[in-house]
Amino acid sequence: MNTNTARKQASLLKTEPVAEKGTLFPKILLGATAVTVLASIYMIFIFSEVEKTMGVVQKIFYFHVSSAWCAFLAFFVTFVCSILYLAKRKRIFDTYAYVSAEIGVVFTSIVLTTGPIWAKSSWNTWWAWEPRLTTTLILWFIYMAYIMIRQMDGVWDKKARLAAVFGILGFIDVPIVFFAIRWWQSKFHPIVFGNGPSQKGGGITHTMLLALLVSIAALTLLYSYLLQKGVNLENMRIKVSQYKEKLREDMEK
């Protein structure tokens, strides 16, 4: 119990300077996010040309691809922070891992909803059991399970430890899942939809590429802004619960 309170005090001290320094940085981040999101909307809907065969529906591609990128980035951050947590045992890494996984699940959900909408109009089916799609679905399930671990009852460092272990395991699993599914599918229908690069990479024009890059930048900035906000929120929550604990102790005295 003694070490636990000492650790709490340490984290209390540590969160103070972060909050002070963090007054300017989030504002810059917010501004950059707003500017790039507006720019990307302009680029997507006005600047870039309309795709020849798919028409206007292709515009969903910019959000789809950039959210997929953000989801992978978020899960990678979770993976790295999980390793760092197990090595260093500092609560801040755990907070980052948790918030990042949550944002990653949101972005994966965006991918999984925009995907079928786009697929319905271009492939004429809502869903195909194609490697990328299936892997994304399994990814979503893995990180939902990760969040379920976080909802467990118990002291925070136990939950953090178990979640970190699962974060590492889940992230390493993803490439294997992808290869297994690609192998499975390629046995039966080799190239049906010309998935991914052969279709997008082949016919992309300069304006489209530029729009894609801007929207990726916009969503990455949005991700970092959300991450920063979420971590701040989580830190505040931790602090409030510490004060509550302290009050309770004082009352019991």
């Binding site: 399970a145 379920m148 671990i149 467990m152 118990g154 272990v165 395991l169 699993d173 290869f179 499975w184």
Partner: protein, 224 residues
């Protein structure tokens, strides 16, 4: 380390032999799965042959989940888990011991239930039998090793019976894909043995990666 693991596995199996609670549940459950599948897919129909490889793995996965759930929960009743943790052995030998016990139990379940499945569905094995056994062994190995690990992880939760399948199914999906495909090729289409071997290699690679990973990470899961 190995000796401690063997001792632990022996203890688990002996206490299981005494009560026969989990093993009986697993075997009866496997029988019920076969029954349900006989309603879902008409056994008199010839096309049913195509779903047999899938049914085999559904039986293993569902019966396996039952056993895995119990393997760490049973240590909580008298708080023997703490006893194991402070005993002079490493966390990895606890994992290894539990894994050996679970693995032998699922093997017994397979030994009993799969002949029944073949009998009741009147399924003749066309392929080469030893390859089928190989797929069964390495597929169950991977499933049970990662399952034992995640059972140790989810045992910390109050609702671990609900949590374990959620953790286990997405993570083991490569094994399930590979095992079902390899079983299908071996049982019905033995000419394509080379692609079955490719699947077996994939499962073996998965087994090795995750067995090592579990060994490294189990220290963090089983902390006092």
């Amino acid at each position: 380390m190995l000796r401690a693991a063997l001792l632990l596995a022996k203890k688990d199996l002996l206490s299981e032999l005494k009560t026969k609670q989990v093993l009986a549940t697993m075997i009866i459950f496997a029988g019920l799965v076969i029954l349900v599948f006989s309603f879902a897919f008409d056994p008199a129909n010839n096309t049913t042959r195509a779903v047999i490889p899938g049914v085999i793995w559904v039986i293993i996965v569902f019966a396996g989940i039952l056993g895995l759930n119990r393997s760490f929960i049973s240590e909580q009743r008298n708080d023997t888990m703490h006893g194991l943790l402070i005993a002079p052995m490493e966390a990895s030998s606890i994992f290894l011991g539990k894994f050996l016990a679970n693995f032998s139990m699922i093997m017994i379940v397979e030994l009993v239930s799969l002949p029944f499945l073949f009998l009741l569905f009147d399924f003749h094995i066309l392929g080469y039998f030893p390859y089928f056994l190989l797929v069964l062994v390495i597929g169950s190995f991977g499933f049970i090793s990662i399952g034992t690990f995640l059972a140790a992880l989810s045992a910390n939760s109050k609702s671990s019976e609900m949590l374990l399948p959620l953790l286990l199914f997405p993570v083991t999906s490569p094994i399930l894909i590979g095992a079902v495909q390899a079983t299908r090729i071996i049982l019905t289409n033995i000419e394509k043995l080379s692609s079955a071997m490719a699947w077996i290699q994939l499962i073996a690679a998965y087994d090795v990666i995750f067995f090592v990973l579990c060994f490294i990470l189990i220290d963090y899961v089983l902390e006092v």
